[in-house]
Structure formats: C-alpha cells, structure tokens
Symmetry: C2
Subunit: 211 residues, 2 copies
Amino acid sequence: MYLRALTALAESGIRTCSSEDLAVAAGVNSAKLRKDLSYLGSYGTRGVGYDVDYLRYQIAREIGVTQDWPVVIVGIGNLGHALANYSGFRSRGFRVVALLDADPHVHDELVAGVAVRPFDDLEAIVAEHGVAIGVIATPAVAAQNVADRMVATGITSILNFAPAVLAVPDGVDVRKVDLSIELQILAYHEQRKAHDAGDPAAVPGVEEAAL
Amino acid sequence: MYLRALTALAESGIRTCSSEDLAVAAGVNSAKLRKDLSYLGSYGTRGVGYDVDYLRYQIAREIGVTQDWPVVIVGIGNLGHALANYSGFRSRGFRVVALLDADPHVHDELVAGVAVRPFDDLEAIVAEHGVAIGVIATPAVAAQNVADRMVATGITSILNFAPAVLAVPDGVDVRKVDLSIELQILAYHEQRKAHDAGDPAAVPGVEEAAL
DNA sequence: CGGATTTTGTTCTCGCGTTCACAAACTCCT
DNA sequence: AGGAGTTTGTGAACGCGAGAACAAAATCCG
C-alpha cells in the first residue's frame, strides 16, 4: 500500500513527503506508518520527511518487487480470463507464463496473448520457468486437487480464488480471496444500518446478544 | 465462511456436526468458532453439537443473506466482465441490476444478459431498484469520482476493486480488494524463503532490522 | 436411575498490533 | 551561530482478538 501511494505521489511530481502526507495517501495512521517503515531501516530525515524515490526503491527492494516473478494461472473461466488480462500484475513484476485448464474445449485459445494449455502440462511449465507462485481460479471442487499438484511440482505460494479451504504442507503459503464474502460483509452492515434506524428489535443484533 | 462450510457439509448429507468438525471445514480454531457462534445465540446442544440446517438458517438470517440485494457494477473492463458473470454473487443473494461504464464504446453491449448503460444513468437505476451496494471496477483515477456519485445517489456500501484509497463520509462502508497486493505478499514471503535458505545476509530482513 | 462421556458456552490469560506521546535530530531564518 | 520550528524514530500504554481451559449441560449405557 505504501509503495502504491509513493508511486502516486511520484507521478504527481512530489519529491519529498512527511509521514503524515504518506499516511493520508495510504489511508492509515501516521504513527503506524512510521513504525512500519522503521522496520526496514531509517530512511527518513527528521525535520524534513522521506525522499519519495529513495523510499520507493527501498520498499520495492524489501518486498521483492524489483524481481520478475513467473506465475501460472489454473482455471480459465470468467475469473481466470480477467486475471490473465489484469494489467496490474505485469506492472508490479508478475509475468503470467502459462494458463492451464482441465477442459479441452478451451485449449489453444489465446487469452491475453497466451495460449491455454492442458492442466497436465503443469509440471513441465513449472520446471521450465522456475515458477514459485500459482493462482487457482477453478471451481471449489477442483481447488484441492490443483493445489496438491502445484505443491508436488514445487510451487510454494498459492493465491486461491476458489471458495474452498486448502490443506497444504508447512512451508507453502496460501492466500485466499473470496469476492462474494466481501459483498456479504457489506450486506451485513447494510442490514444492521436499516434495522438500527427502523425497528432495532426486529432482528437480534450482535451487540444485544453479546451483552 | 461458516455459512459456506455448513452448506458444504449439508450437501454431503451431514445433519449434525461438532464445533471441531465445522472448525476444520472452515479452517479455524474450534474455540474461536464456538465464541463466534455464541454471539448469535446458543444454537448448539452440549454433548451433541450443532444441527447443520438450523445453524445454517440462523447464520444466513443474521448476516442478511436471506434477502435479495440489488447491486450496481461500475467499470466494465476485464474485471467488470468477470464480476458480472461471477455465479457466486447470484447464488448468495446478490442480483446485478445494472452495469455502467463511462465509455460509450461499450454501451448496449450485453454482459451476462445485462446491457451496459451510461454512467449517468446511475441515479435513475439506484432510485428504481433501491440499490444500496455499489461495486467499483474502474481504473484508479476514476474511482473517487464514481464513489462520490454513488454516495450522492444514496448508496451506502461500496466494494472497491480499484487500487485507490477512497474518501467517503461517515455512515458509508467501503471494502477494498486489491488483487495484485495479494500476489505481492506471496512474492515477499517467497523472497524471504529463498534468502533464508541460501544467504541470509544478502537482504536485510525484517527480523534482523527489528532487533 | 446414575455415573461416564461428550460437547458446548464462557472465562481468563496471553500476545500482538495500533496509537499516543515525546525525545532526538534536522532545517530554516535571523 | 543559535534559537524556533518540524518531523522522525521509538518507548509505553491500550485495546482487542485468539487460544487454552474449565464448568455446565446433554446424551449414552449399564
């Protein structure tokens, strides 16, 4: 987030910023920002602030964005299509080296200039490109099988868009993104707003139940 | 998450489950699960566990999934297309009532059976359907403007996929999903794995810097 | 019917992340 | 050169969520 905010500042022509400026741009508290940055080192100057470009480089180096990361996407449905075309990946150092799908109907189709290949090509592709990061955009039922195959080929980081809990061995990182759960959380707050304004007793709320 | 896990259990024909079973299915600690459920009320039976269907209904009612939520999606690029087609929304009570885009080139195009309309139709659509939830899938530069217009029309919950920090008045909820930040977090851990295994001194790590 | 067993609901404790607050350090201006 | 004004880096306090642990309650079985 800080890196993104710094990039935005740099594009506005700003060379230097205070922790307060950057905190506002990133949407966090300035004390938290300073503490976070202090874990990387002392890259600011007291009385002045931070040099935007210098800090940007330091953060980019620390989080590994300076390198190029080959990525494999499995499951080329609606979401897989969107991910393959998502420009934010390439611009942040991620290169989609292969699109895989178990369904032969989509094989050889070109998505974002990359041909869709059979899922069984996974091992060869991972070995060829040294892929460490895999993206799962399959239906929930297929996710665990895909994850197992990924782990077996040596992938150690998985981004999971399937609504399923994945079991993986120690040493493998999994991050889960669930689009509809985000909407559900908003709907929950919406419902509470409506009931709090109207008839608070209509639905037993969390606050009441917790007392 | 619990609701999803319960649905999966129900589809497996399981009528009753313990907090431990459900915790495993949801990928959390069983004590945490019991505490979470206790905020809704005492829906379990000691010595037996939870009735899957009953608990499922209670959670669905509490989080508002039993109602139908009309949703507007603004920004019909790659991501907007995928979101409009995403089946997980409809199956969880969300109905996409309109797709809006500022670009006239995509107007009247049919996406998932819904015609893309001009962004200026926002007010009319929100009023007509009583929309409370908006989804922003535009580029970052357009996001704040879209959010302002949404708030002005009475939308009080926003799901933001644009990589930008949104400023909204009190009473409006914003949730942010950033696809590439998730990949960046994985890449960071990948980098640390590589350096910890090889030459730990090559990159100053957080642990060392924190000491 | 009563003890053994199972499982929930809840209390207590621990650890962690966030925020406050302030000393150290740097710049600017006279 | 020196004081006034800024801003960072960090120690201390706070709040909160997670996990361990246990009492209460229900079932099972002899």
